[in-house]
């Protein structure tokens, strides 16, 4: 009897811990999207991909004027040329990617069962280069942005459809990305969620903070503050620095997993990249 009571007590004590460890991406997705829909009932679900422009009428009006001559157009055109150009060995990027790379951006990042790691589209492009005897491109700026602008444009309007397969390594990667998003870091003690969940729609000086829902769907972006294009990893690095945290490597597990989590949270929203931001 005493033994039974001890076992029962142990089970009761362990239950919350086990619940905390359980990984349920579908339940997370529902709770995440419900949070934003409840906080911003006036914003149509698909409009979250427009970030601050879905929150502020003045900014939206300015953006619509800017978009008459999209600032990412040069990157888009250059990206198309880069993608079509043959490697010295005669192969192309299209040879390395599913469906020749066209209309696939909404499925990235993907979990690669061979390596057990998350692969972003940028990393897939770099893998293609290495296989064909070329050096990797920078994951933050330059030609990679232009290639990404083109590939994202080819998926424009398609619903984000990132999959977290029933593989413990994929679930662990998703969970690490989730932890990275919610954990506070840096001397200013901010998490990604501090700005892009709790602070979404609020002003940070002259900026309106974009909601995390749909955030990833507009990348790569031309950011006026940069005066150039940037991938989502460039933004991650910038956010880390702004809260006085040392950024991770651009191809780090942390950023791959964070992008994986964020993309999964935007499931069903239309790809809106390349984008333009203040």
């Amino acid at each position: 009897m005493k033994r039974l009571l001890i076992l029962l007590l142990a089970a009761l004590l362990l239950r919350p811990a086990l619940a905390a460890e359980r990984v349920d991406p579908a339940a997370d997705l529902k709770a995440f999207q419900t949070y934003f829909h409840a906080r911003f009932p006036h914003v149509p679900p698909a409009d979250f991909v427009n970030g601050p422009y879905a929150m502020d009428a003045g900014m939206r009006a300015q953006w619509q004027q800017i978009m008459q001559f999209p600032p990412y157009q040069f990157a888009l055109d250059h990206g198309k040329e880069l993608f079509a150009a043959a490697f010295p060995n005669g192969h192309h990027y299209a040879d390395c990617l599913p469906h020749g790379g066209i209309g696939i951006a909404q499925n990235y990042p993907r979990f690669d069962p061979k390596t057990g790691r998350v692969v972003t589209l940028e990393i897939a492009l770099n893998r293609c280069r290495v296989v064909n005897g070329l050096k990797k491109l920078k994951l933050t700026t330059g030609d990679m942005d232009d290639l990404m602008a083109y590939l994202t444009d080819r998926s424009h309007g398609r619903p984000v459809a990132v999959v977290v397969p029933d593989d413990p390594r994929a679930r662990a990667a998703y969970e690490r990305g989730k932890e990275y998003f919610y954990a506070r870091r840096g001397q200013l003690n901010f998490s990604c969620a501090s700005c892009h969940m709790q602070g979404a729609g609020r002003h940070l000086r002259g900026d309106v903070l974009a909601p995390a829902l749909g955030l990833i769907a507009s990348f790569p972006i031309y950011r006026s503050a940069w005066g150039s294009m940037g991938t989502v990893v460039r933004r991650f690095i910038g956010c880390n620095k702004q809260v006085r945290a040392v950024p991770q490597r651009a191809d780090s597990e942390d950023y791959r997993d964070l992008e994986y989590f964020l993309a999964y949270m935007s499931d069903g929203l239309p790809v809106a990249g390349p984008g333009a931001r203040p």
């Binding site: 919610y182 870091r185 840096g186 001397q187 003690n189 620095k241």
Partner: protein, 99 residues
């Protein structure tokens, strides 16, 4: 002649003091390096920690041991705070997740 003797006495008096400060500064920098490494291993390094460490090394290179120790102590303090943050956040992050 008197001035020379005075200068010699001052110089001799200063030597043991400088010799005593140097190992202190080196130890302070070593402590700061160790704390910063621990913070990095927890993936929560702060940029001000690195800035303070660089300043400590720069001061030590110039022979300003007092400043080196001061910057190193600052780096140790900042690294300690980031370690505490990382350990607390290892569990606390869950409280921010919408249910």
């Amino acid at each position: 002649m008197r001035a020379w003797i005075l200068a010699g006495v001052v110089a001799l008096a200063a030597v043991p003091a400088a010799a005593a400060v140097q190992p202190d500064a080196a130890a302070a920098i070593a402590r700061a390096e160790a704390a910063a490494q621990e913070a990095a291993a927890l993936r929560d390094q702060w940029t001000p920690t690195i800035a303070a460490l660089h300043a400590a090394h720069a001061a030590a290179a110039k022979g300003d041991t007092a400043a080196a120790r001061r910057f190193a102590d600052r780096a140790t303090l900042l690294a300690g705070l980031s370690i505490r943050q990382a350990r607390e956040q290892a569990q606390l992050w869950r409280s921010a997740v919408p249910q």
